[in-house]
């Protein structure tokens, strides 16, 4: 059933009884061609692209809870592709370009708002770092623009622009195509489109083991809803990647941490762009509902708890108030945490695992939401063809052995 204004009108006239399930809730079959473990954005996108790009429809997507309930439902909804290295730039900008057409492609409004992101420079060293960053983006063919102090002030009038602020704003740079998208809509849009093409989305289905065949090849999974056989299995489970890897008998260079985020009570529009301050670690935007959405860095100890430490929350908010002192009287309405899979170079792992037939998409750490279309596209490609997509080729597990890391965070500069 197509979503449209006309369909809404028909709904209005029929007390909205015209609508049909966005996806089915089928019983799992005993066998599929491909099984995807993990019903977040990356897994759902992979299921969709398997069907759409490769015609592989006999696919089951297994989610132990409800789809989009992990990091996809817990992020700060920011999309951007302002990365330094060409390998990353290509991957993330591919995702951003997909996002730009996604609402129409999926027939589901993902509320992509390309209101731009402004990265703040608080010192002359920051200005230099941002020049490198902006120039690197431009050399990769990605939009980037340096902003003067006054231009930054015009984009975000509530920023503390006083010269004796603890973190004075000296300027910044912007990627205009960056912005936000409604995270739930991305998950639901991909789910509905994948389901429409025949993918079985199986919720409340937890994988408890992998079935092995000849040569150690994976031949299926053991789940809370029975045994399911498949010759090709993809893992897209973010912070739980190591748990699944252990079931399959291998290790990953991943440590799982809590990443907190929070929203304030809703307000009339006061901030029209995304503001990010690498110097303080805070990033802020205002949702279409009017809530200020605030995020920062990790709780720095391994955790699967999906709740953050209060001390870290205090630090996040202190950083935010250092930038926006007028936010002090706003109220924290909701706070939560995801479980992020952090690897040393903050770049993803997309490709084969040591187990034949088993592929993985993980390691996105704090930056997975903006990359969902690319992660799904490339995971689908390797599941369908057995070969890495060229975008994913630099992001293999073996780079942790060869040392050819793609270290975006490091390249952004250590403090001097």
């Amino acid at each position: 059933m197509k979503y449209s204004a006309l369909a809404l009108l028909r709904g209005a006239l029929s007390a909205h009884r015209n609508w049909v399930p966005a996806w089915r809730s089928p019983e799992p079959k005993p066998t599929y061609d491909v099984v995807i473990v993990g019903g977040g954005g990356h897994g759902l996108a992979a299921a969709y692209y398997l069907a759409k790009n490769h015609g592989v429809r006999n696919v089951a997507l297994l989610e132990r809870g409800w789809i989009g309930g992990g990091n996809t439902g817990r992020n700060t909804t920011i999309v951007r592709s302002n990365y330094l290295f060409p390998e990353s730039a290509r991957l993330y900008d591919f995702a951003l370009k997909c996002y730009e057409g996604l609402s129409r492609e999926l027939n589901f409004n993902i509320m992509l708002s390309q209101r731009g992101i402004v990265m703040l420079a608080h010192s002359r060293h920051d200005l230099d770092s941002m020049a490198r960053w902006a120039n690197a983006m431009r050399m990769n063919g990605i939009d980037a623009q340096i902003l003067t102090r006054d231009e930054v002030a015009a984009r975000a009038p509530l920023l503390d622009m006083s010269p004796d602020a603890r973190f004075p704003v000296l300027g910044g740079f912007t990627q205009r195509r960056a912005g936000t998208a409604r995270h739930d809509a991305v998950a639901w849009g991909y789910a509905r489109a994948a389901d429409a093409r025949g993918v079985d989305i199986i919720q409340n289905c937890e994988v408890s083991g992998f079935l092995s065949g000849a040569g150690g090849r994976v031949v299926g999974v053991e789940t809370s809803r029975g045994r399911i056989r498949a010759e090709r299995i993809g893992i897209a489970a973010a912070g739980h990647s190591s748990v699944l890897a252990k079931l399959a008998g291998f290790r990953l260079p991943v440590v799982s941490y809590a990443l907190q985020a929070m929203v304030t009570e809703p307000l009339k529009p006061a901030l029209d762009t995304v503001v990010s301050s690498p110097g303080t670690g805070a990033y802020v935007s205002q949702s279409d509902k009017g809530e200020m959405v605030i995020g920062a860095g990790l709780d720095l100890f391994p955790s699967y708890a999906q709740r953050g430490s209060f001390a870290v929350l205090q630090g996040v908010i202190a950083a935010t108030l250092a930038l926006f002192p007028s936010f002090s009287r706003l109220r924290l309405l909701r706070q939560w945490a995801g479980i992020v899979d952090v690897v040393h170079d903050s770049s993803p792992i997309i490709g084969p695992t040591p187990v034949p037939g088993l592929y993985i998409n993980c390691g996105w750490g704090t930056g997975g939401f903006k990359a969902i279309p690319a992660g799904g596209w490339t995971l689908a490609h390797v599941l369908a063809t057995g070969r890495n997509h060229e975008l994913a080729e630099p992001f293999q597990l073996e780079r942790f052995i060869t040392g050819r890391l793609i270290d975006e965070a490091a390249a952004a500069g250590i403090a001097h």
Partner: protein, 967 residues
């Protein structure tokens, strides 16, 4: 006026001898001390307070507490503006100015009400189904303007906040009778006991009528030493039993507040045992137009009548789903509110003997509410259908049943179970570290609640196991919500305008899990956090999907229990106290010399000392030129300093550094670089040997804490048998650096001893010395490339030495110089700055330090990673010098080097760049692919669309033989 003030003795919480005046939407009104803004508005007959989020429906006061979804206002102006204030919690203050939110031009006539007219087109999730053509950007601005409630302040907060930590044996949250009983029992058993009351009174519901039992309980609690903290609301429980609470300190919104007040205080409380006595909320029934001003929670009307002396209406109809409704009817009648009827939704309920003359309809429901801005009446009918009867009421009270406030219990990881008889969730046993008593435990009857609470208090005080809660006393409430088969909007979530039919839609579209339901419909996502809607939503979803409420389950409860001010969470960590800047020991002296301070990492340091009218760049040029020609004075105190001492100190340093330090003679110094295990450069500095077992280690300014911590980690975790002590001494020693051809002449004028002359003390050596009785460690080293002395002396005397040196400067023609001039000079010399010319990918071989690696015999941190093939890749970036071909254009830092215009792969970037005062042309450092083989080549530097031609040169630019440094 439907609502009005009642005469005494009603209003036990207000003080009629203290009238207060306030304004609401510009209209001047009055109330009494002890009123909330809500009670004062009701007393003045004000029913229309705000507009709902989506449909802009008229709304009034709905509740009497934290669960208020509708009656929100903005108060104050400028730096004291506070948006989205709940009128039901705000104590009235003299001069308070409040205005309605989310309406324009006003709450009475709101243009936004047009959306209400299109409500049918705006079901839950409507925005996912449309707005795709041409794109969301066309519609977003209008939607954003319609969304949101209050207006954010535009000035920094005028007030401040603080944080206090408390440690106690037993913490009791909630000062109703159960909480008081538990606290008194705990303290009586010898425990240090802290009791939090969210309001200004203790006693909970019993205090509304000034029940003497409350006073008695409170007195006995105080007598046994319970510490009672009023106006302190616990909002979250965190790991290891940390409870956080927010205390309201100053009078919010009062017109006569001084310039800056302590507004709220954060409490961080660690308790051995936590008892929650947070009471119960009310679960409302749904019926058509159940959101109109004049429809309220039943307990709220009761509280307004007793505690605030306000009748919420003249003629009430009570929609009932519990026995308590009848007690309420009697209480209201006694207070002067006529009760037209109790309309009991429960089928087959035995009619409760109410007051004489009370009309009771059982198995019946409201099917319509009349009056859009204020209730004028309602229609009631039997449940199965049948004739409706119109009742001319002006107040509709919703007594749907009890909802124990299990939030903190759930936050602490406690489980819930559904009590079908009373249609409520109660704690299923205790949570780790937290026990519930009273109504929040599901113990609704008075006597059992008090006695169980006392038993729990005593048991926990003694470290024992508390007894199970005797759940019960709520009577029968059915798991019913909406009225089926009638027309009209039945609101589940008032603030976000979520209707019962939206829940049906969610079920129809398969957003069936409780989390999908919440996100799809936005139920429970308003400022009231679903306190009076979440349970109804899940009962409804159960109804639509054929599941019992327990099967549907609840969403996970997370902090905060109620919204908390951001400033409160942060306390005093704002402004200058947020990451306080570190200052030089002689900061004031530098300021007096006209220093231009900038922030470098966490340090406040002079970038330069500009003369009047001089720019920073011009000052740096002048300072650098003067240093090279004559001499300069620099404060290098932030440079990291460690003493590394012990029999294994030399061996240890060899393991840490790329270079070999164990071969240093006493008094000799060497430059060393540190890598991490992945082989990348993380820090550098000069290491000098003080004695056989003692080393003086300099680190970079920014890397000091990181390096000191890394050394400790290696010693304590890996080389655990080494006998080495690390002492950080950065702040103990100041570093006064004198550099330039006349540097020694300058020091000699102050009587520095002969052993320090350049002839006696070679470059890269260290001598202990004395000046005017102060111990010195003098290091002859240079980052500027000139003869240099780093005079380390006790920090307290830095200003004195600087002043004495400066007094001789004019005679020598010497200058003060800051960081910027130092950067200019070190770039002229091709010296790297870790973090500027290097990043976290740079290996020692990339910056010309490969020989140091090859020469080192033994292991060191990072060595194994340098053996990987990737480390020897000829395509790696190398440090090179660059000069512009035209000899004039300053090469931009961050400029990318590539032969072709974008989009293209790049070959490197410019890392440092300055005009060289020595050469008169711009010079730069860059990282360039294969750069060590490309000297003399021409390259193109791209910067924001412009291209500058440059040539690759050898380093250094100035004094390649190093004669100046060694002279």
């Amino acid at each position: 006026m439907a609502s009005r003030r009642l005469p005494q003795p009603a209003g036990t919480w207000i003080d009629r001898s203290h009238p207060l005046s306030f304004t609401f939407n510009g209209r001047r009104l009055s109330g009494f001390r002890g009123d909330t803004l809500a009670s004062a508005l009701l007393a003045n007959g004000v029913r229309l307070v705000g507009r709902s989020f989506k449909l802009h429906r008229p709304r009034g006061v709905w509740s009497c507490g934290v669960e208020e979804p509708s009656a929100l206002v903005d108060i104050g102006q400028g730096a004291r503006r506070t948006p989205n204030v709940r009128t039901t919690l705000l104590p009235l203050a003299e001069g308070l100015a409040a205005e309605s939110v989310n309406c324009w031009p006003g709450v009475g006539f709101d243009v936004g009400a047009l959306t209400g007219a299109c409500a049918a087109l705006l079901p839950a999730g409507f925005y996912y189904k449309t707005f795709k053509w041409p794109s969301w950007h066309w519609f977003e601005p209008a939607i954003r303007r319609m969304a949101g409630l209050g207006r954010a302040p535009t000035a920094p907060d005028a007030d401040h906040y603080e944080e206090v930590a408390a440690d106690t044996d037993v913490l009791v949250i909630g000062a109703g009778v159960a909480g008081l009983a538990a606290a008194a029992a705990a303290a009586g058993a010898g425990a240090r006991t802290l009791l939090l009351a969210s309001g200004a009174q203790v006693g909970g519901a019993l205090s509304w009528g000034a029940d003497p039992e409350v006073a008695a309980l409170a007195a006995s609690a105080r007598q046994v030493g319970v510490r009672i903290q009023l106006r302190t609301s616990a909002f979250g429980i965190y790991d290891h039993n940390l409870v956080c609470a927010a205390e309201s300190v100053s009078a919010e919104g009062a017109a006569d507040l001084p310039g800056c007040v302590l507004r709220e205080r954060l409490w961080k409380i660690r308790a051995r045992a936590v008892i929650t006595a947070t009471g119960a909320l009310e679960r409302p029934l749904l019926f058509p137009d159940n959101d109109r001003p004049g429809v309220m929670l039943a307990s709220a009307a009761h509280k307004y009548a007793q505690a605030f002396g306000v009748a919420c209406g003249r003629r009430a109809v009570i929609a009932a789903n519990c026995d308590d409704a009848y007690r309420l009817a009697a209480a209201l009648a006694a207070a002067g509110v006529e009760v037209l009827a109790v309309v009991d939704r429960r089928e087959g309920a035995a009619p409760i003997a109410g007051a004489a003359g009370l009309r009771v309809l059982t198995g019946a429901t409201l099917t319509a509410v009349h009056g859009a801005r204020s209730v004028r009446g309602c229609t009631v009918a039997p449940l199965g259908g049948g004739r409706g009867e119109r009742l001319h009421c002006d107040l509709i009270l919703n007594a749907g049943g009890c909802a124990p406030a299990v939030h903190l219990h759930s936050q602490a990881g406690g489980k819930l179970r559904w009590v079908a008889e009373s249609a409520m969730f109660v704690p299923d046993g205790a949570a780790p570290g937290l026990t519930s008593v009273g109504a929040c435990a599901g113990v609704l009857a008075h006597a059992p609640a008090v006695s169980h609470a006392a038993e729990v208090g005593e048991a926990l005080a003694r470290g024992g196991v508390p007894p199970q809660a005797p759940v019960g006393g709520a009577g029968r409430s059915d798991a019913i919500t909406r009225v089926p088969g009638v027309r009209g909007k039945q609101f589940v979530d008032l603030q976000n305008d979520v209707l019962a039919e939206d829940v049906a839609l969610a079920a129809r579209e398969n957003y069936r899990s409780v989390e999908h339901l919440k996100r799809y419909t936005t139920t429970g996502m308003g400022t009231d956090q679903g306190k009076t809607s979440n349970i109804n939503a899940l009962i409804l979803m159960g109804e639509y999907t054929g599941q019992a409420p327990a099967q549907v389950g609840t969403t996970r409860f997370r902090p905060p229990f109620a919204p908390v001010t951001l400033g409160t969470i942060v306390g005093r960590r704002v402004g200058a106290l947020y990451r306080p800047l570190k200052r030089l020991p002689a900061h004031d002296w530098h300021a007096a010399q006209g220093a231009l301070f900038e922030t470098f990492g966490d340090w406040c340091r002079p970038a330069a000392y500009p003369r009047t009218g001089e720019t920073l760049d011009a000052a740096a040029q002048r300072e650098a030129a003067t240093v090279r020609k004559c001499a300069g004075l620099f404060d290098g105190s932030p440079l990291g300093k460690l003493e590394v001492y012990g029999p294994d100190a030399a061996r240890f340093l060899d393991l840490m550094y790329v270079g070999t330090l164990s071969t240093l003679r006493i008094g000799q110094a060497r430059y060393g670089v540190l890598l991490n295990e992945n082989g990348t450069l993380v820090d550098d500095g000069i290491v000098a040997r003080l004695s056989e077992q003692r080393f003086w280690v300099n680190t970079s300014t920014a890397g000091f804490e990181r390096t000191a911590a890394a050394f400790e980690e290696w010693l304590q975790c890996e080389y655990v048998d080494f006998k080495v002590l690390i002492t950080p001494v950065t702040s103990r020693w100041a570093n006064v650096t004198v550099a330039g051809p006349r540097a020694w002449e300058w020091l000699a004028k102050l009587g520095f001893e002969a052993a320090l002359t350049p002839g006696a003390m070679p470059h890269m050596s260290l001598r202990d010395s004395v000046w005017e009785g102060h111990p010195l460690r003098v290091l002859r080293a240079s980052f500027s490339g000139e003869l240099g002395y780093e005079v380390n002396l006790p920090a307290d005397h830095a200003a004195a030495l600087l002043a004495r040196l400066w007094a001789q400067a004019r005679e020598l023609g010497a200058t003060l110089y800051g960081i910027e001039a130092l950067q200019v000079m070190r770039v002229e010399k091709g010296y790297i700055h870790i973090g500027t010319d290097t990043d976290g990918t740079t290996l020692p071989g990339d910056v010309g330090l490969a020989r140091g690696v090859e020469r080192k015999a033994g292991p060191f941190v990072g060595r194994r990673s340098l053996l990987r093939a990737a480390a020897r890749d000829p395509g790696r970036l190398h440090l090179v010098g660059l000069v512009p071909l035209d000899g004039q254009t300053l090469l931009p830092v961050g400029g990318q080097i590539a032969p072709n215009p974008p989009p293209t792969l790049t070959e490197g970037h410019v890392t440092s760049s300055y005009l060289s005062p020595e050469l008169g042309v711009p010079v730069a450092l860059a990282m360039l692919k294969g750069g060590s083989q490309r000297t003399g080549e021409e390259v193109r530097v791209h910067h924001l669309g412009t291209i500058i031609a440059a040539r690759v040169t050898q380093l250094p630019f100035v004094d390649p033989s190093g004669a100046r440094v060694h002279g």
